[in-house]
Symmetry: C2
Subunit: 252 residues, 2 copies
DNA sequence: GCGATCAGCGGCACG
DNA sequence: CGTGCCGTTGATCGC
């Protein structure tokens, strides 16, 4: 495909708010929060009317170069190359330059779409359900507040047990690692400082790594294995089972 | 574009290892680690020969539905729809179904590209440079080890000060938040348990949030503002300045 | 707007 | 393979 034609196609499309799709051989330079370059190869360029700018290689899931909504796109012909630039200033000045040596395909499309994805099984959804089902953890455990902000972050679920003790619950929709335990620890420490007495920490997740479980036990926290299913169009908690922990069973 | 033609185009492309680009009106269902659905709208579908499967709306940076390399793609015509499926089993069974009511464009491309992106300014690169420049933090601070694994994670840089004390350094390439301080705290606690004596914790980042700085000070750690630039084709540390901290200056 | 956290996170490196 | 953690993380929601 000839450069002038491709150039006009892109310019017209940008003005008309259309989606641009372009395939060809190019080199790319990027400078901004980081910097990158890549030598010649065939790639796919997608430009959306909101300024989204994506360059994909022939393999791999993520774009090798990208710019979020809000970037300003321009096209030029120079030294026998078709140069497409994307510039933004939002987090800082960032520039991508795609230098096409050859364009195999370039066209644009009107895209009508006023819908939004409905997602089920998010952590927030699980938390909302779990709030109603705290008795699955233990009888007498009652919810106080969901998504409760403390000075050092926000606790997923705040509850109270039958003895009147405060309980901080950290929920994960997938396997919990060290970071989850560390997070819980931060909240519990903060709450204890505020309340002046012992606060229980409970981690709910479908799995937990061995290392995280050791740390959890060392901190005196509890783990509950969360069994859930995503029954469209919502999620459902199938079970909540205490993972037995014996003090001193796990190494330091 | 007619469905049979689009279907053949996709099937042939998949067999030939080409990149498929398809634009049209569709609904999408997804079920796997989570679940989602979306009603009719115009979208862009990209299928790579490695099984990567991406569906984009006309705005926004991220694909609304996706599958990483390794998914198995199939096409069918059914009830007046062109149905493209992507199935995988890797983390678990996951299925995307794209139901096209209309196809505006569908073609495939041979993509030759044996190059890899060269990225500059990563944290790892900064760490390597900083290791040589620990004197910028304080005279007599000497590197012991980079990326040092302890039982509860891995420390970016392990060092020793002129008094012989162990120093754990956590490095961030962008503004540090509570999570960075929490991470550092975990490492320091682990080291202290192992060494049996006080270990210093230092956080190096271009910025730190006010809240994180409070927590840092409360833990007795130190913050150094990291000033760097990415001078292609490498990064360079321009300065490293102690952020003054006075005990008790920050609230709990 | 910043700030904290989630994400179907993905990707990488190391044990 | 799991585990930990970075990412030009992006996206969201609360303050």
């Amino acid at each position: 495909m000839e450069f002038p034609q491709a150039r006009k196609s892109i310019e017209r499309a940008l003005g008309a708010g259309k989606l641009v799709v372009c395939v060809g051989n190019c080199t790319i330079k990027y400078a901004g929060r980081a910097a990158s370059k890549i030598s010649e190869g065939d790639r796919l360029l997608v430009i959306k009317h909101d300024g989204t700018f994506l360059v994909h290689q022939s393999t791999g899931m993520k774009a090798i170069n990208y710019q979020g909504p809000g970037s300003v796109v321009s096209v030029a012909e120079e030294n026998g190359e078709l140069i497409v630039k994307s510039e933004r200033t939002k987090p800082m000045h960032e520039l991508i330059e795609v230098h096409f040596k050859r364009v195999d395909y370039c066209d644009s499309f009107e895209m009508h779409d006023d819908t939004k994805l409905q997602l089920f099984g998010s952590e927030k959804e699980l938390a909302r359900i779990l709030m109603q089902d705290l008795h699955l953890i233990e009888p007498g455990l009652t919810p106080l507040k969901g998504e409760s902000d403390v000075k050092r972050g926000s606790i997923d679920i705040l509850a109270q047990d039958s003895a009147g003790s405060t309980v901080a619950i950290e929920l994960k929709r997938r396997s919990a690692g060290l970071d989850a335990v560390t997070q819980l620890k931060r909240y519990v420490e903060q709450l204890q400082k505020r309340k002046g007495r012992r606060v229980r920490g409970i981690l709910c997740a479908p799995e937990i790594t061995a290392n995280a479980l050791k740390m959890l036990a060392g901190e005196g926290f509890e783990f509950f294995k969360l069994d859930y299913e995503i029954a469209n169009p919502s999620a459902k908690i199938k079970g909540l089972q205490r993972k037995q922990k014996v003090l001193g069973e796990y190494g330091p």
